[in-house]
Structure formats: C-alpha cells, structure tokens
C-alpha cells in the first residue's frame, strides 16, 4: 500500500511537482508521484506495519497487532498517513484523498490533488467527529493512489481540482475496478467548461459508456442525514477578502471562478442504478471545510459544505 504521509509530503510534493512540470512523460514515466512516494514513504516504516498495508502481508503484521493495543487515540490521530492502518486497530472510515496524476501546478504547492491538503482534511475530520460521533473515523488526513491494489480497502475517495487530472492507464484501470466493485468517489472544486471538459474526458476513460447525470434535489443523497433543499455555490477562501470589507453583504461578493457560474451536483450510476461518483462542479466544498474556523469565511457556505460532506459519507456507507 502506498500512502503519503504528511511528514514526507513535502518530499512527495516536490517529486510530484517535478513530474508535473515534465508533464508529457507523466503517464508512462516510472518516477510518477505514486511510485516515487512508495519508495519514500515505506522505507522508514517499521517492517510489520508496512506490510499490514499490503494485500498479501496482513497476517505478518498481526504479531504486533493481536495483543490488545495500548497506543492512544491521541497519538494515532496525529500519526502519519502511512501509519493509519498499523498503529492501533484499523478504523471503519478513512477520508481518502486521491493523489492522481495530473498536469500543471497550483501555487507552487505541488500537484493539483494536494489543493487544501492537509488542512482541509484535518478540519473536516475534526468536525465529522462531532457531527457523526458514532462513526469510527480515522481523524487525520490520508492519501491513496488509484493504481494501488489496496485502494479497494477504502471505499470512500475524495478528489478535487480534477480539471488538471491526467490519469495514467494503471490509474484508469484501478479506479474503474474500484468503482464497479462498489467504491464511492466524491469530486469537488473544479470550475468552468474547460475543466469540465478535462474531467469528462478522464472519467470517460475510466467509465466508458456511463452517463453523467444531474442529480435532482430529491435524490437521497440530499436527505440521507441533513435535509438539503438547494444546491448552492460555495466559493473559495478568496471571498474572505470581499466579506471582510462588505460587512457580510454576501450578494456583493462573487462566488464563481472562471466561467463556472452555476453550481451543479452530478452523478454517475452503475448498471444497477447505484451511485458510484458524485460530482460537485462549480463549487468548492473543500475550502468551506478548510476555512470553517475563519471568522471571515461565511458560515452559510461552511454549513452547506459540511452538511453535504456528512451526507456523502452516510450515503456512501449505506447505499
């Protein structure tokens, strides 16, 4: 299992950036972010723990795990992503951020998949812990790669900025198997027709022949936990600059990016009509999660984003 710990995130980010800058070979080059990270992240791990994550070596890891585990939750919650399945008892739910191959950078912070990472994930999970206290969730950020065979052990994926996504064949295969087998993917934070076109192209590589459909507001996903009666556009943190001066008169602050004026929630269903992918287009739930504690970020957006987030989780775990 290749996971990207935040402690080595900078190294991985740097590697990803190098790869992304040399975008043409990204699809075939052996030094793709996932491969590079694999080498980087697994090396410092204790042997047994690292193997627990592999599909074949689960039992070897249990020498350490079988005895009652005394490691506290506190220690665990701050642990590196790579250690999540090895320290303590594995959790039921992991908020799994997809580290996909892509092109272009984002404010020099690495691949577009890393947008808002890890702060958005951490804050989101700390709220989830309070909103869904019954959920046995791992409360820290966690990153997975689409070509990892153990991807399927995490049936909930979150991917954003997919306008810059450029999947390699192995990732396409991995994601296709994952989704058709029963996995659930949440897409967020991509704007306008150009990014849509890119995403559409990529997802059709993954799921050829599957239609992207608008999800009506009476779809179960809007009522599974919270009752949501309107899809609203959640702006990025940039709105803070406007609200700070406009005395919270939100109508004067633009919420769109590029030509993405109308927020949309779309979905892709499998052959049996079960939702596999939920697509949040022209909206940025991630920023609303990340900046929920910022006094200048409007509460109305955070509330909506968290309600949507909770609904996604509950829906994915029951439908």
């Amino acid at each position: 299992m290749r996971v990207l710990p935040s402690s080595v995130g900078a190294a991985a980010g740097a590697i990803a950036l190098i790869v992304l800058l040399g975008s043409p070979p990204a699809r075939t080059d052996a030094t793709t972010p996932s491969d590079a990270t694999n080498t980087e992240s697994s090396a410092p791990l204790p042997k047994a723990q690292a193997r627990f994550l592999s599909s074949t070596g689960v039992s070897e890891a249990l020498g350490a795990l079988r005895a009652p585990i005394e490691a506290g939750v506190g220690a665990e919650s701050r642990a590196d992503a790579a250690q999540i399945l090895t320290i303590g008892i594995p959790h039921e739910f992991y908020f799994s951020r997809v580290a996909y191959s892509g092109f272009g950078g984002f404010y020099g912070r690495g691949g577009s998949w890393r947008t808002d990472y890890p702060r958005a994930d951490e804050i989101f999970l700390s709220f989830i812990d309070r909103l869904l206290p019954n959920l046995d969730a791992y409360l820290s950020e966690f990153v997975v790669f689409l070509d990892d065979p153990d991807l399927r052990r995490f049936p909930f994926l979150y991917a954003l900025e997919v306008g810059r996504m450029a999947l390699r064949p192995a990732e396409i295969e991995g994601l296709r198997g994952y989704l058709l087998q029963g996995g659930f993917l949440v897409i967020d934070d991509f704007w306008g027709t150009r990014e849509w076109a890119n995403f559409e192209y990529e997802i059709q590589q993954v799921l050829p022949g599957y239609e992207i459909e608008d999800l009506p507001i009476d779809h179960n996903i809007f009522t599974t936990f919270y009752e949501i009666d309107e899809v609203i556009q959640v702006p990025n943190i940039g709105i803070r600059n406007c609200t700070a001066f406009s005395q919270a008169d939100l109508s004067r602050c633009p919420t769109w990016e590029r030509d993405g004026f109308i927020p949309m929630v779309k979905g892709i269903h499998d052959e049996k009509g079960r939702l596999m992918v939920i697509i949040n287009w022209n909206t940025d739930l991630g920023d609303a999660w990340e900046w929920a504690d910022d006094p200048y970020y409007p509460f109305v957006y955070s509330k909506y984003a968290y309600e949507m987030g909770v609904n996604f989780i509950v829906y994915a775990m029951s439908h």
């Binding site: 005895a67 039921e92 775990m317």
Partner: protein, 763 residues
C-alpha cells in the same frame, strides 16, 4: 430338535410349557414311601455287608446307580401326569388375517412370491394346515392392507393394497368376531407395516381380551441384493432461488463397493446428480445433494437411483417428494448502531434478490436514524420497535454494532421473544459494540446466543483485534448457508480458504452445548481458533452469530475479480437460511404431502395473533381445490388439547394436486392466510423396507400370548392353538409314565451298573 424331544418325552415341548405337571398316584404317599423304604434299606445293607473285592468307592457308585433305578420306578409308580387345557373342537373361532398388500407380490430368494404360500395353504386345493385348522376351529377369513375386511373367497385377494396396517387389521378382526368364543387370530403377512401408527396401542384390546395372535412371517428378513432410497429429508416449503442441501438416505444390501448414480428430477428436468459409493454391506449412505429451488409453486421432485443388475425390488429405487416453492419477500430488519461499510455491501449483496427485503434502521448519530427500504413512512419512524407487534412483523432480525445499553429491558426481552416465541431468525454481527464488547454479558440476549461471551480474550486491558483466515467446519461443508455456490464439499473448502482474510473485534471461541459451528477462523495455518459462524435453535427460532466486522472485504479485496459473486452468494444464502422455516401467524400443513387417491388428508393449522400468542377462538376455514378445479370448504375445529391448533380432514378423490387455502379470522378481522398442497398419487410405499419384519411379528405374538411361525414350522399351528388359545376349553390329563425317556433311563442305569461291575471285576 423338536422331533427328538417329542420322541423322548412323548409330547412336544410346547405342551410341557402350557400344561401343569402333577402326580396322579392311586396310593397314599406314605404307603409308597414305606414300600420304598422296605426295598431300599435291605438293598443298602446288602451292599454294605457284601464286601468281597470291592472298595468303598465301588460300593458307593453301585449303590447310587441302584438307588437311581429305584427312584425312577418310584416316579413311575406315582403316575406322573400332564394336565392340559385345550380348546373344545369346533366350538371356537379362529380369525385368519391375510396380508393383501403389494409387498406380498415380492419374490424372495427361493423364487416364490410371498402370496404363493397363502394360495397354497388356503387355495381351492386345500392343505394339511387348513384341514387341521378346520378340524378344530371355525375359521373366519379377513384380508387387510390399509383397511381390513371379511374375505369370503380366496380369489378376492388381489395383493394390490398400497399400505399395510397390521394394528387396524387385528382390531377390526376382533370387532368382527365379538360375541363368539375366539381362540386366536392368525396373521399371514410380511409384517411390513407402514401405517405409521403405534402398534402397541392396537395390541391393548387384544391383550385385555386375552386373545393370542399367531403370526406367520412370509418372506425373507433380508432382501439381498437390493438398493433403496430410504428417506429424503428436505423442507416442505422453500423460498424460490434457494440452494438446498438435501439429505438422501440410500440403503443397500449386497452391493458393497459399487458406485451408483442418484439423480433428482423436477418433472423430467434434471436438477442434480450425485455418485454414491456403497461401503459396508447393509450400511445406509447419507448423500448430500445440492439443488436449487427454481420456479415458484408446488413441485414434485423425484429422487432416483438407477436399477442395478439382479435387484430384488426395483420399485424402491424411486422416491417422490412434494415441495412448495414460494416466492414471498422475506422481510428482515437490520438494525445497525453506526455508519459501517457492512451496511452498504450487505444491502448491495441482497438487493437483487426479490425474495429478500432487508429493511435498514441505522443509527447515524445519537437519536438520528436512517431508514431504508421501509414499506411506508410510518414504519420504524420511532426507531427500533417498542412493541412485540411491531417487531414480530419481521421474519428475521440482524443486530449490528449496537451496544446493549441502547435497548430497554423490555426491548431485550422482546428480541429474545422474537426468537423463542415468534420463531424468527436472529443474526448477531461482529463489531466494536457487539457481543461482550457491546456489554451484552449478563443481559437476556446473552442467554439467547449460541456462544459464551465470557471469553478470556475479551477481558484484556484494551480492545481486541484479530485477523481471520476462514475455513468451514465439518457441518459447514454441507450446510446451505456456507456453500458459496460450490457443487461438492471439496469445492466448499477450496472456496472458503481462497477468500481474503477478514478481521474481528470480538473474541469468541466457546460454543454453548447444542450449538453448531459452521465456519471458524484463525491464522492461515490454524484456522480453527475462533468461531466465525455458529447457530443454535432457541425456542421456536434460531440464533446465528457472525462475529466478524468486514465481510465486505470479500467484495472489495484486490484479489476478488469484478464478476465474482462470492459475497453476494454468501449473504443471500445466509439470509435465506435465516428466514427459512420461520412461522407465520397462520401456519398450515397436511399430515402427509403425498397420499393415495381416495385417502383422507388431515389438515393441521396453527393460529397466533400479531404477538404470536396462540388464538383459540378463531374461525378457521380451509378451501380445498381438487385437480379438476372444484372447490370445497371445510371448517376446521380447535384441537382442545393444543392451544392455537386447529384440525380438519377432507377426502381425496381423483389423483392430482390438491391446493388447501386456509383463512383464519376472529370477530370478522382476518388473522392470516396460508396455502399448502397435497399430491394424490398411487404410492409405492409397499416396496420400501419390504423385507419380512420378523421382529415386529414376534413382538405381536409375544405380547398377546401367541406364537411366531415361518412357513417351515407352521404345520403345528392348529395343535398349538388348541393348547395355547383362548375360547371354550376343556381340561385333559396326559400320562407321562410311559415316556420313552424313562425306559431309556432304567435301561441305562441297569447297563451302567453291570458295566461298572465288569470293569471292576466285581462279577
């Protein structure tokens, strides 16, 4: 042996057994003893005086021999007599009961049909036995198979009866002969009673009246060689699409080492076939046949073993079973205490199964519940059911990871009653708030579980976690819930062992007495460390435990191909089995599912209210639709001895399928409905277990004071009845002084003394 006895003792042993021994001496005893003393004392004194060359030992031996001789003479002088009670000739009746069933046609080893003996004995040409009987008794003939009736002409025997009811035959004969002196009943039969009635009850009136029954066993006690389908064990009602494992018991004699093929057909369509290898002679083989219940409706399944060369009876190679395949949606309540992946994947696994409706109630947060697949907005609106009526609507209940303290005491009792009284299926899943980890120890539900919760591993300082590689137990190899669609036991093991490991948070290792484990798990090498799937019966229902938390891995693991259906198959089979046999408010069945045309059918109905308490004041009506489509209505009566049970009967007329629809109501409100089926068809029952039942026939004779015969020794029957039978009797004395054995003893003793003297040179 009997002949030698008769030669030596003048009469047969039976007469000595039946008669009383006495001395009919014409002289007073003292006189005789005095005479004996007069003879004996001088003799002893003579022996004592005449010493000669004899030793003390010689004199002792010779005196003993001589005294023995004297003793025999004294015995004879006392005139030993046998006092016998015998029936008065021609004053008594004897009922002759002749088996008229199909099994009498069977040809035994000597190449003679069983019925041939009857014809030879009682046929037009007559026989010594018949003559002897007629000399002493007035004979009344009866024929019997399922029923018994008077027989006036031997030509009326057709040997076509499709059942044998010995008890009924004897009772009927006794009734017919009531009022006349009966010496006894004689039964000519193979004793293969298949009425299912308790014979001892039929013997009571005969015992009370002191009427002995003489049984004549026709046929061999072992039919060799022969193959027979002895029994087929399968439920009478199954859910459409269910995989069944049916136990078929195949018996054989004389075919050790042979492999035969057992096939199962549904109106000509092959459903399954299985090879059966016979091992030790006479040892029945239990064959587990896997079949799929397909189209809904009543299905007549035929189990058949091919006819083997030289087989004695071929009709017993086929057995038909009527099974009602229903396509109802079994409603199951799945209550889960937290968001979990098991919920999603369990629901997906069974979503396409039209016969399973899993209603989900999931506590997503405190006081907040997600309801899915409910029938209406009211269902479960207030969370977990608070009344028995509400809970008992479901046929099975799955409890996920939800702590015991969530439930009130009454709710815990309700769940226990759901199993014990309602007869529902209860499945406990593993999880961080399940079993001991959920605080169930010491609650009412801990009593209900098939496993103990006080495992030493649960008392560790922290939470328990283990990875489990799974293997089926011996019971799991053939259990319908653990087949994973495999065709045979080897494939079952292979499939389970190839599955990726799962994990558990609930250490459970100890089964309660009477519980059955179907799956176990542990390390890859030792897969039997912990219980993975186990169950037991609790009251009317069953309780199943599956203490693992992530069976969804069998769907999502990287090694599982997209088209693999293992996870789906497992859950469908498990839930179908969980709901299998769960009673409805109104349950109907017939005593037998296959009857002969013309035979009555007993309908048994059980009625309970919405809380499954027995209802005794219901109005229960059965509408019977016969094969021609005509209907008749029967009102069923409450069986006073059993709460909630009603019974009635109807008569089948023509062959074919009869549909029995039950409607139970109370005060104008319908309680429930039920449907069951009966097939009327000629039966081959007579050919099953058709060997002569010596044990049964001997028992009848022993318990009534009669005797058991075979054709070889039946010649003395008439005389035996005259001395052992009941009726009008007279007493007669038979002298025993002239028994040849006494002469031989006298001669022997004399020769002995003479020989001894010669040998010792005392002459």
């Amino acid at each position: 042996m009997d002949t030698i006895f008769e030669f030596l003792f003048k009469y047969r042993l039976l007469l000595f057994q039946e008669g009383d021994f006495t001395f009919a001496s014409p002289w007073p005893v003292l006189l005789v003893l005095g005479g004996v003393a007069v003879v004996t004392l001088p003799a002893l004194l003579t022996y004592r005086a005449a010493r000669g060359a004899s030793s003390r030992w010689d004199r002792g031996v010779m005196a003993a021999l001589r005294l023995g001789l004297v003793a025999i003479l004294v015995f004879i002088l006392f005139r030993p007599t046998l006092i016998l009670t015998s029936v008065v000739p021609q004053r008594n009746f004897v009922g002759i009961l002749i088996d008229d069933s199909q099994s009498m046609r069977i040809t035994d080893q000597d190449g003679v049909a069983r019925s041939d003996f009857v014809q030879a004995t009682f046929g037009s040409e007559g026989s010594e036995l018949l003559t002897a009987l007629e000399e002493k008794f007035t004979l009344r003939f009866f024929r019997f198979s399922r029923d018994a009736s008077r027989l006036n002409d031997m030509a009326d025997l057709s040997y076509s009866g499709t059942a044998t009811n010995l008890g009924n035959a004897m009772v009927r004969a006794q009734e017919e002969l009531a009022g006349v002196p009966i010496s006894g009943l004689v039964v000519f039969s193979d004793g293969a009673d298949n009425s299912g009635e308790v014979l001892a009850e039929s013997l009571l009136p005969l015992q009370a009246a002191g009427i002995p029954v003489y049984t004549v066993g026709l046929g061999e006690e072992e039919l060799t060689p022969d193959v027979q389908i002895s029994r087929v064990e399968m439920p009478r009602t199954v859910l459409a699409g269910t995989s069944l494992v049916v136990d078929v018991i195949v018996s054989h004699r004389g075919y050790s080492g042979r492999t035969v093929q057992l096939v199962v057909e549904d109106t000509g369509l092959l459903l399954a076939s299985e090879d059966v290898t016979f091992e030790r002679d006479g040892e029945p083989v239990v064959v587990r046949v896997r079949i799929q219940a397909q189209d809904a409706g009543p299905r007549l399944l035929r189990f058949r073993v091919s006819i083997q060369p030289g087989e004695r009876v071929t009709e017993n190679n086929v057995r038909d079973v009527l099974v009602n395949v229903v396509s109802d949606a079994e409603k199951i309540l799945y209550f889960e205490g937290e968001p979990r992946w098991e919920v999603k994947f369990l629901r997906r696994a069974v979503s396409e199964d039209e016969n399973l409706q899993v209603v989900l109630l999931q506590r997503t947060a405190e006081g907040k519940f997600l309801r899915l697949d409910v029938d209406n907005a009211e269902e479960l609106a207030a969370g977990f059911p608070k009344t028995r009526e509400e809970l008992f609507r479901y046929r099975a209940l799955i409890l996920g990871s939800v702590e015991a303290s969530f439930f009130t005491h009454d709710q815990l009792d309700m769940i226990a009653d759901f199993v014990s009284r309602r007869g529902g299926g209860l499945l406990f899943l593993g999880g961080r708030n399940a079993f001991a980890e959920g605080g169930y120890q010491g609650t009412r539900l801990a009593e209900v579980l098939p496993v103990f919760l006080d495992d030493e591993l649960s008392s560790g300082v922290g939470p328990y976690f283990d990875e489990l590689f799974i293997t089926p137990t011996r019971a799991g190899l053939t259990h319908p819930a653990t087949q994973l669609g495999a065709d045979n036991s080897e494939a079952v093991v292979e499939r389970w062992e190839a599955l990726p490991s799962v994990t558990t948070l609930n250490p459970i290792t100890r089964l309660k007495p009477g519980a059955t484990s179907l799956l176990t798990g542990g390390t890859e090498e030792d897969r039997e460390r912990q219980v993975v799937l186990a169950f037991h019966r609790y009251g009317r229902g069953k309780v199943v435990v599956l203490p693992i938390q992530d069976s969804w891995i069998w769907q999502m693991h990287a090694d599982i191909p997209l088209e693999d259906q293992t996870h789906e198959t497992f859950w469908r089979q498990l839930l179908r089995w969980l709901t299998d046999g769960v009673p409805e408010q109104v349950g109907a069945q017939t005593e037998r599912e296959l009857v002969e045309p013309g035979q009555p059918v007993n309908i048994l109905v059980e009625v309970g209210d919405s809380a499954y308490a027995a209802v005794n004041n219901a109005n229960v009506v059965a509408v019977v639709r016969d094969p021609s489509g005509d209907s008749m209505t029967i009102t069923l009566e409450w069986d006073v001895e059993q709460d909630g049970q009603y019974g009635g009967r109807f008569l089948t007329t023509s062959p074919g399928l009869y549909e029995v629809s039950i409607l139970a109501s109370r005060g104008g409100d319908t309680i429930g409905t039920a449907v069951t089926y009966v097939e009327a068809a000629p039966s081959a029952d007579e050919y099953f277990d058709a060997s002569m039942r010596g044990t049964t026939l001997r028992r009848i004779a022993d318990q009534t004071g009669g005797l058991f015969y075979t054709p070889e020794n039946v010649a003395t029957l008439a005389e035996d009845i005259s001395f052992t039978g009941a009726g009008v009797t007279l007493t007669e004395e038979r002298d025993l002084w002239d028994m040849p054995i006494l002469l031989f003893l006298v001669l022997g003793l004399m020769a002995g003394e003479w020989g001894y003297r010669r040998k010792r040179s005392l002459i």
